[in-house]
């Protein structure tokens, strides 16, 4: 029991720091750069992503264990995972609408963006490719969501700071955000030290 808890915790820590969704694999980057800017919006987005990843893991774990051994799996994999994500999307949407309408008003706009996101599909696919079992799926999904939220906070902090400086015209907006994330990614590599598997 203690061993299982330790393994869970270690895998979640790995997903947060060593395999951070944004800084080591650039998952969820396109939407992120136009997404939430305030801290509470980022927290809401991050919690939504974590919850959806964990819920979807339940379905995808089962499907993965059943179909992983076929050679045509790589063709049908996205379709199966997307169907799972659609089911979770519908469940979450109707649950929010019926039981927490106030919450739905605030986060309803973000829901499609948060569900069909690299930061959700990425960890699902990664866990599938590495053949994790059920608890490892959950640990990796949880850690990945938390790591994504922390990375978003760091990046939004940096963007806030960059807005106050006088950047050269060619670098304003997208280029400097990418450069900032690139330098932070350099820092994260000091923790990892080797090329992560795709």
């Amino acid at each position: 029991m203690m061993q299982a808890l330790t393994d869970f915790f270690l895998l979640a820590m790995t997903a947060i720091f060593l395999e951070n969704a944004i800084f080591t694999r650039a998952l969820g980057t396109s939407r992120m750069l136009i997404a939430a800017k305030r801290a509470d919006q980022i927290f809401a987005f991050g919690i939504l992503i974590t919850v959806i990843t964990i819920c979807a893991s339940i379905f995808t774990c089962v499907i993965n264990m059943l179909l992983m051994r076929y050679s045509w799996w790589y063709l049908v994999e996205p379709l199966c995972y997307v169907v799972c994500m659609c089911i979770v999307f519908l469940i979450v949407r109707y649950a929010l609408k019926d039981f927490f309408p106030g919450l739905y008003d605030k986060v309803g706009q973000m829901l499609p963006l948060a569900t069909f996101n690299g930061a959700v599909l990425g960890p699902l696919l990664l866990s599938g490719h590495q053949g994790y079992d059920f608890w490892q799926y959950l640990a990796f999904g949880l850690g990945s969501g938390i790591g994504y939220t922390m990375a978003l906070l760091l990046v939004s902090e940096g963007q806030r700071r960059l807005r106050r400086t006088n950047l050269p015209r060619a670098f304003r907006g997208l280029p400097i955000s990418l450069l900032y994330i690139g330098i932070l990614s350099l820092g994260f590599y000091g923790l990892i030290g080797h090329q992560l598997p795709f």
Binding site: L33, I34, A36, K37, R38, L154, E157, G158, R160, R161, L162, R163, T165, N166, L167, P168, R169, F171, R172, G173, L174, P175, I176, L179, Y180, I183, L184, L186, G187, Y189, G190, L191, I192, G193, H194
Partner: protein, 334 residues
Amino acid sequence: MQADAKNKKRAQQPGHRRMVNVLIAIAPILAMSCYYYGTRVLYMALAAIGTGLAAELICVKLRGRRVELSDGLSSVVTALLLTMLLPATMPMLLVIFGVLFAVVVIKQPFGGYGNNPFNPAACAFAFLSICWPYYTYHYPMPFDHTLAAWGDNAGKLLTGPAMSLKMGSLPRYDMMDMLLGNAPGGLGTTNILLLCACGLFLLATKTVKPSISLGFLASCGLFAFLFPRITTSRLDSLAYELMAGTIVFGAFFLITDPVTAPKKRLAQLVYGVLAGVITMLFRHFGAFSQGLVFAVIFANALMPLVERGCSKLRFGKYVKSTPIVAEEGAPDEA
């Protein structure tokens, strides 16, 4: 208009004086490393300074601004700091690449002097250690004056004490050697006594803030005392961890960069302690034997959070953070 220009000039003077003080502090370290390793050090320093000045000039002109003294001074400081971190056998081409990276990638795209969120010397050293780890982490023995200036020095390289600590064993050099700089290491990072003397000079002239340096050193020491990597004794661990690698150099030269450090005292203390904790965590769990440069990157990224948190602590409810209006992409496109 004239009052504006005069005020601007007066505000820039402290920046100039600070950089000149840093250069004065680096000079004896540079002289000492020439004493250890011969004339190659001078060639490295000259190559670094030349590349830094040329790159800075070209980039400032590309940005369409006038070249000012602060640009030149800051690029000289960055070049010399980077040279002091590297081993004496670093190939010249890689020194040039490092300085180019520091100026062209870390400093100029953010707006040049005063606007860079990350310390250029630390980031350039991180880049060099990732791309060419063999050359960056293998050092020659001191007092070896036979280093070829342009040729290949690969036959004479050893790993330093930091690598021994990473493996969990005592370094091969005793504490007196490490204090006096008789151990292998980066050019300016081995002679701890001289580094402390220069650090005291910087503290006395108020060029660096004691809250940052001493907070950093204290937190590193406490972490090394509480979680030793070597098995002999905690005091041993404390001494060796502080003396091996770039911690003392970083405490006085890298972390205290006024552009990337907080302005208020409480924030500075928290920043120093945070940087120390992250450095020691990188040393324990990271992939490289020295974690300071990567920790500097993270500390610089977390600095605005620290500053905001500390000012909220002091003033409580009187400080309200204004919500930032979300902007569309490319706000300034014609």
